[in-house]
């Protein structure tokens, strides 16, 4: 285990406004006010893990900052988290530090990529993560503050500061907070972590380097095939990095669309195969330079009837079920082939929780 130095501490005598101003002036926030990370509050978070406070969970680019358990706890307090969220955040940062996620590029790129944490297993219910209505939106403390904690770690430890270490051309509101639980209860299929071979009662976090959710509305199709054609049409669009360089995109089906698709005999694997075959953009509709790029660099057949895929194979698409009632789904275009989904099991204290 590599260990990092203890976090610096300092004394304040003033009121909350003075403390917050101190953090704002130094750029130690995402723009929102912070919860002061007092020693007592940080200790309450550290009590939620068996890991050593000085253990380095990951070295985060571009600053190559050492994300110790303690520094992550400090940022989680600042974000407004409750202590019981802490194991999710630790596992999330560990997933982002996995070389396959390629945080170097995710942090610095001009692309509006944000790390989405998808939480599976019993911890999601225990800490009250929203998987239903408006799950990608506002309203639930766990989703918003876990997402914000991750962003504060990427800024304050990793140095992903807009205009210097983070060069996103426009950015995205998804970069403020982006954490969701899969709606396992309303999914007709096995959840994401079970699909990967883990037991249902294990809790996991899966990180995707992706855009904000791109809505897919279909109120008119009564069949799974009909819904899937709409989904494929939305995913096979020209502007995504997945059309540019393929990669590992995410489909977040609403429970009603998922139910219709599953009722008509589609397993998750069949959904992925359908999307590999149909979520494509006609080469003939690309401009001359982009068409030449697809032919010369991505080796697609140079013909007007060529349909350009967004993935190299069906299994590169991930499918989850998220949301409440209604005929809406979403897909998350990812940072092309510049990032891969990564997953970590959420370690629970042996004295608490029901998962282990």
């Amino acid at each position: 285990m590599s260990r990092g130095p203890a976090a610096a501490t300092f004394d304040f005598t003033g009121a909350y406004e003075e403390i917050d101003a101190h953090y704002q002036e130094r750029g130690w926030t995402d723009g929102l006010p912070i919860v002061p990370p007092t020693e007592a509050r940080v200790r309450a978070f550290l009590a939620e893990t068996e890991r050593d406070p000085h253990e380095i969970i990951g070295t985060l680019p571009p600053r190559q900052g050492e994300a110790t358990v303690e520094k992550i706890a400090v940022n989680a307090v600042m974000a407004g988290c409750r202590p019981e969220y802490f194991p999710v955040i630790l596992a999330g940062i560990e997933a982002l530090a996995d070389p396959l996620f390629n945080l170097d590029s995710v942090q610095a790129t001009t692309h509006p990529v944000a790390p989405l944490l998808v939480v599976n297993g019993p911890i999601a219910r225990e800490i009250g993560l929203n998987a239903g209505y408006n799950a990608f939106g506002q309203g639930v403390r766990a989703n918003i503050t876990i997402g914000r904690a991750v962003r504060l770690v990427l800024m304050n430890v990793g140095g992903g500061l807009p205009g210097s270490g983070d060069r996103a051309t426009q950015g995205s509101p998804a970069k403020i907070a982006y954490c969701v639980a899969e709606n396992e209860a309303d999914s007709p299929w096995e959840p994401l972590h079970v699909e990967a071979g883990l037991a249902p009662d294990v809790s996991t976090v899966t990180a995707f380097g992706c855009e904000g959710p791109h809505n897919i509305q279909d109120h008119y199709s009564n069949t799974g095939l009909g819904v899937l054609h709409t989904v494929a049409g939305a995913m096979g669009q020209a502007g995504s990095n997945n059309l540019l360089g393929r990669g590992w995109p995410l489909l977040s089906l609403g429970p009603e669309h998922a139910a219709t698709i599953a009722r008509d005999g589609f397993s998750k694997q069949k959904v992925k195969q359908f999307l590999f075959d149909h979520a494509r953009f006609p080469l003939s509709r690309l401009g001359a330079e982009y068409r030449r790029y697809q032919v010369e660099r991505q080796h697609v057949r140079d013909a007007d009837d060529t349909l350009v895929p967004i993935v190299r194979s069906a299994e590169d698409i991930s499918v989850i079920v998220v949301g409440g009632a209604g005929k809406h789904s979403a897909w998350q275009p990812t940072f092309g082939d510049g990032t891969r989904p990564t997953r970590r099991v959420i370690a629970r204290r042996s004295t608490r929780g029901s998962a282990r």
Binding site: P62, A108, G165
Partner: protein
């Protein structure tokens, strides 16, 4: 990294991202990484502009690759 193995390199980019490149090089312990920089942007330009920028960069590329 190639430089640390003694292989001369010239990392190309634009002045727009010079500060980011130097920051990342410094944080990885290769502060003197040779950069060959041209005016921004590199994308969305016509071939004559590409050639003009290549002319601007050639000196710094040669210097980076042939330095003692």
């Amino acid at each position: 990294m190639l430089e640390q193995r003694g292989v001369p390199t010239a990392t190309m980019g634009t002045f727009e991202f010079e500060a980011l490149a130097r920051l990342e090089a410094k944080n990885r312990g290769i502060e003197d990484l040779p950069l060959a920089l041209v005016p921004h942007p590199l994308g969305g330009i016509h071939e004559d502009e590409v050639l003009r920028k290549a002319d601007l960069a050639i000196e710094s590329v040669l210097k980076a690759l042939t330095r003692a």
